[in-house]
């Protein structure tokens, strides 16, 4: 994991999740968040 020298704002987003859930950048405000991008293949 490499620290970013000049932290940049995350993009705005709103996407669906499994089982009818969803998530957006608003959910990440005021919390430290670890995001894991992955694929099943």
């Amino acid at each position: 994991l490499v620290p970013v020298p000049q932290p940049t704002p995350m993009p705005s987003f709103k996407i669906p999740g499994i089982n009818g859930s969803s998530g957006s950048d608003a959910d990440l405000r005021n919390k430290v968040t670890i995001i894991r991008f992955w694929a099943s293949w």
Binding site: M10, F37, A39
Partner: protein
């Protein structure tokens, strides 16, 4: 990953997953159901969110602070149970 989600919650740190599978829920839900995972599973089928975060390959990890700033990133394996990551995010969570 699930363990990090469970153990870091009390420190005000959340763990989420974003899949870039083109088939979306059909690819992701069976894996989460079989593993009994409760970590949030979001679907980025067109990879727009991944691109927005500057992700260049998977698996990738991005850490966002309270202000919504991208603080760290990693491509490939990251030890979610390791002291380095745990201390890093806890320090971020304590920072005001």
């Amino acid at each position: 990953m699930q363990r990090a989600h469970d153990e870091l919650k009390k420190d005000g740190i959340q763990v989420i997953t974003i899949s870039i599978d083109g088939t979306g829920e059909a690819a992701v839900r069976p894996i989460f159901a079989k593993g009994g995972y409760t970590v949030p599973a979001l679907l980025d089928q067109d990879m727009n969110v991944a691109r927005g975060f500057g992700v260049r390959g998977v698996p990738s990890t991005v850490i966002v602070d309270r202000k919504g700033l991208i603080n760290a990133r990693g491509l490939g394996h990251v030890d979610f149970d390791g002291k380095v990551l745990r201390n890093y995010v806890r320090d971020l969570a304590r920072a005001r």
